[in-house]
């Protein structure tokens, strides 16, 4: 399988704070990777570097064959092939659900409105809320909003989907509806990188689990290995805390 994301010796600083330390990670097409670790471990920063919402300071990032540099054109090329779902949904509040979904296809892919709307309805159906197409985000529940956000990313027909703690801002009863959609997506073969604390999801969906702490990748394991016998003391402590809930 072809490698779609390659991180090599990537470092990131905020001022003097060393946020990411020599991160090496290669993700193949179709692979599902769950990134976990304590808060402040650098997981969000790492996936935000993949579509250059954060700029890395050294090392290399290659996404879909394009190396990320200051070159705005390449950044745009990468971004249109990489979908992202945020913790706080980030739906455009002044646009209806349908407008949220068709904006990028029309502006970036230069798609005709009718075609963009047809695709939008297809993905809204896939996330099981086609009836909400003409509502505004504020009229939807958190779970529905996050599903719209997933559909919005999918409308660009991306090669990779990044999820940055997609269920952390949700009420408990809404978490499963979002995870179900993500699980469906995984089964369909989407390449996914998910930062999440949902260990059940990780266990059932992930091909590999990346455990990070203090800006470093501490271990990379299969879910079976990771949950049964974590290699590092730090991972054991983390799992002890998170599974105690």
């Amino acid at each position: 399988m072809a490698d779609i994301i390659v991180l090599e010796k990537m470092n990131k600083f905020y001022g003097t704070y060393h946020a990411l330390k020599d991160v090496d990670l290669t993700i193949a097409k179709g692979e599902k990777v769950v990134v976990c670790g304590p808060s402040g471990s650098g997981k969000s920063t790492m996936i935000r570097c993949i579509n250059r919402l954060e700029e890395h300071d050294s090392g290399r990032i290659v996404v879909g064959g394009q190396e990320l540099t200051d070159d705005e054109k390449k950044i745009d090329l990468v971004r249109r092939e990489v979908g992202m779902v945020f913790q706080s949904f980030n739906l455009f509040p002044h646009m209806t659900v349908l407008e949220n979904l068709t904006l990028a296809p029309r502006l970036v892919r230069k798609m005709a409105t009718g075609e963009a709307e047809a695709i939008a309805m297809k993905y809204l159906t896939r996330v099981r809320i086609p009836d909400q197409a003409n509502k505004y985000p504020s009229q939807l529940s958190g779970g529905q909003q996050q599903r719209v956000a997933i559909a919005r990313a999918l409308c660009m027909n991306p090669e990779v989907m990044l999820f940055d703690e997609p269920t952390s801002a949700l009420d408990p009863e809404m978490i499963s509806e979002v995870l179900d959609v993500m699980t469906d997506l995984a089964r369909e073969g989407m390449t996914m990188v998910c930062v999440t604390h949902e260990m059940g999801f990780a266990r059932s969906v992930a091909d590999r689990i990346v455990f990070m702490d203090q800006g470093e990748i501490v271990e990379v394991s299969t879910p079976a290995e990771f949950f049964a016998a974590p290699k590092s003391e730090r991972a054991r402590t983390f799992l002890g805390q998170i599974l105690a809930h």
């Binding site: 579509n51 250059r52 919402l53 745009d76 971004r79 249109r80 990489v82 979908g83 992202m84 945020f86 706080s88 980030n90 739906l91 455009f92 509040p93 002044h94 646009m95 209806t96 904006l103 990028a104 502006l107 970036v108 509502k135 505004y136 985000p137 504020s138 009229q139 956000a149 919005r152 990313a153 660009m156 990044l162």
Partner: protein
């Protein structure tokens, strides 16, 4: 002190003869001011010191000095220089109307650019990131996300600025323009009845303010329709 109610009724239609000029000054200055404000805003939001610094100085100067003084500098001050009177600008600066429009526009631009900047800073950064993640260009993010949301956030403060501008047009009466206050002052000088005449003018200004505020409330309600739950 006698008080003549009928004088209010009689003077109302006379003062209304100045309404056209009042609204003209308001509309033209507001338009020019807005265009200028967007330019200053873009300078202020840029990351280049040589653009930011003049914008800051402009805002500081025009917010920091009285509008009346600005008007007098333009009207009485500039013609003191012979080269101004020889210049191509003189046909414009010769006219009290254009002096008033220039002063009002320059002044409101400083305030409006700050009002709009407040709106821009109020837009959730996460939305801009969502736009980036979708591959929207900087121009597309600005025109589709930042600008429409910033305008919505700025509307309440902007409506205050328009009301403030309406009142500021009264200063044009100090440079011979016969807008509503100019007419009112002339009637006062003729009738020696300041209370009745200025009360009549007050009534008209209050009605105009009511119309402006109601108009903006409607616009705000429409612009914020996405916030309402159904």
């Amino acid at each position: 002190m006698s008080f003549d109610l009928s004088l209010i009724a009689v003077s109302l239609p006379k003062i209304l003869q100045g309404l056209g000029l009042t609204l003209n000054l308001l509309a033209v200055s507001t338009l020019f001011g807005l265009i200028l404000a967007v330019g200053i805003l873009l300078m202020r939001l840029s990351r280049r010191a040589w653009l930011i610094w003049p914008a800051k100085a402009y805002i500081y100067f025009f917010r920091g000095t009285p509008l009346l003084v600005q008007l007098f500098v333009i009207y009485h001050g500039l013609p003191q220089f012979g080269f101004i009177r020889q210049s191509v600008l003189w046909p414009l600066l010769r006219e009290p109307y254009w002096c008033s429009v220039i002063a009002l526009s320059l002044n409101t631009a400083a305030y409006v650019s700050e009002i709009l900047r407040g709106g821009v800073l109020g837009v959730d950064k996460g939305l801009i990131e969502a736009g980036k993640a979708l591959g929207l260009s900087k121009f597309q993010r600005t025109s589709r996300i930042t600008a429409p949301l910033a305008v919505r956030l700025a509307l309440p403060a902007y409506s205050n600025e328009i009301v403030s501008m309406l009142k500021s047009t009264a200063l044009a009466s100090t440079v011979t323009l016969m807008e509503m206050t100019g007419v009112a002052r002339t009637i006062v000088a003729d009738t020696f009845a300041p209370y009745e005449i200025f009360i009549a003018a007050t009534i008209i200004y209050l009605v105009l303010v009511w119309i402006i505020q109601t108009g903006f409330t409607l616009v705000e309600t429409y612009a914020n329709r996405h916030v309402r739950k159904t």
